[in-house]
């Protein structure tokens, strides 16, 4: 077996398929701001669901575990959003620190 040939074959299989959701050349990629806005909307919807459930429980006709889970979902979504925000701010500061 030719060692060079075998390494070459590995290299040839190394062409990765395009990542799903990656912008194809030609069409305009969705703007990050729009995507972030959508994500914030989704997190807000989860918070509203949690609120509505908690109100129902307080009024005496709610479902305890469903409320706890709704609040938990809102919490996790909020944390995830916070991570994204922190990353963005970090990247921004990194760029601003660059000496030109």
């Amino acid at each position: 077996m030719d060692p060079l040939r075998s390494t070459g074959s590995i290299g040839s299989t190394g062409s990765l398929p395009a990542a799903p959701g990656a912008a194809r050349p030609g069409d305009r990629p969705a703007s990050f701001a729009a995507e972030l806005g959508k994500a914030i909307g989704a997190v807000d919807a989860l918070q509203a669901q949690g609120d509505a459930q908690a109100e129902k429980v307080a009024a005496g006709h709610g479902n305890l575990h469903e409320t706890a889970l709704a609040l938990e979902k809102a919490d996790v979504a909020m944390r995830a959003l916070l991570k994204v925000r922190n990353k963005v701010v970090e990247a921004y500061q990194e760029v601003m620190r660059m000496s030109v």
Partner: protein, 143 residues
């Protein structure tokens, strides 16, 4: 979102187990009820029938393979076994021979059901805890 699907499945499990507790409590409470609201003789013990249900199209497996599914209470059936007969001629629900038919509820059986439902509820709750921990851990990667 995948994480929320798993949470929804655990939530359906919690609801189903709560329903089992409800039914067991109803059976225990009515262990001595010799008449029912609709006049059809003594109370009959009830049993919930659980059914697996796929409520998330994304998880039910588009290509036909079985996916993760939740659970729901399909129906609550009445136990048709005969009730126990007790000789008590003074009782208003006694028949002409003086026997009263009591419900076919065995309190021991119901308490065991109650215990099993409560433990299953706990199991579902710890699945939620695990999920929570996993989500937290995933978010910690991006620190």
């Amino acid at each position: 979102m995948d994480f929320f699907t798993a949470l929804n499945i655990s939530s359906s499990g919690l609801s189903a187990e709560r329903e089992r507790v409800n039914v067991a409590s109803s059976n225990l409470a009515n262990a001595e009820s010799t008449r029912s609201a609709d006049g059809s003789g003594p109370y009959r013990r009830r049993d919930p029938v659980l059914e697996s249900v796929s409520f998330d199209a994304a998880l039910s497996g588009a290509s036909g393979e079985p996916g993760a599914v939740g659970v729901k209470v399909a129906e609550i059936v009445e136990d048709q076994r005969p009730g126990r007969k007790v000789y008590s001629p003074g009782h208003p629900d006694a028949d002409e021979k003086g026997f009263v038919t009591f419900p076919n509820v065995n309190p021991v059986h119901e308490v065991v059901n109650l215990l099993s439902a409560s433990k299953s509820y706990e199991a579902n709750a710890s699945a939620v805890d695990t999920l929570k921990g996993m989500a937290q851990r995933a978010l910690d990667i991006a620190r």
